[in-house]
Point group: C2
Chain length 123, copies 2
């Protein structure tokens, strides 16, 4: 059986659901190439709550995309680093971030045009 992300019974769909997530995309992009500690990630991604970050990291760890390493320092520091598998995904999801940053102008002008058309229609 070949994977088919369009088949809800296929595990590929579950994986896609998880990596097509705004927080996962940002975290993966951030960890690419440089291991980072919990609070450092949190500071680098404003708006991401501790709870959701902890859950996101645990899911990514379960999927074999990153490793969690605790150091017996005081206080305990925990470092998250991408696995080789995670690095391959990071490249892919980073393309999404690059697309957003590249085409943001076109998207915003499309939004303005759409909204002004709505106002016309309502008038």
């Amino acid at each position: 059986m070949q994977p088919d992300a369009y088949d809800p019974a296929c595990p590929t769909r579950l994986v896609l659901d998880r990596i097509a997530d705004k927080w996962a995309v940002l975290v993966l992009g951030l960890l690419a190439g440089r291991p980072t500690r919990f609070n450092a990630i949190r500071r680098a991604v404003p708006g991401l709550s501790q709870k959701v970050l902890a859950e996101t990291l645990r899911r990514l760890e379960r999927d074999g995309l990153l490793t969690r390493t605790a150091f017996a320092t005081v206080p305990v520091t925990v470092e998250y680093a991408l696995t080789p598998l995670g690095e391959t995904l990071a490249e892919t999801v980073d393309a999404l971030r690059v697309w957003a940053e590249t085409h943001i102008g076109a998207v915003q002008s499309a939004q303005r045009a759409y909204d002004s058309r709505l106002v016309e229609g309502a008038a």
Copy 2:
């Protein structure tokens, strides 16, 4: 000012939030290269409800990623097609789907390993 998806005040973040969405990824991948009607999309993406599909399509239309064309047939048919901008995004998000289908095996074995480690720890 350069776009920065990690800045919550930057509109790039809003765009990224939207395209890093599981349903948007599947819909964009489906529409790539071939205009499709509303119910055809719904049938091709099981699990996607009418409400969420309608909302997703309207947001993508607002972002200038696809066009909505109504034909005066009986009953009225509505066709959704990617814009050139949407096509460039479709290529990018399709890489996500391809990644998922390619590495699903590695992810699943990582999950099994993670879960069995948990069971050990609990015992």
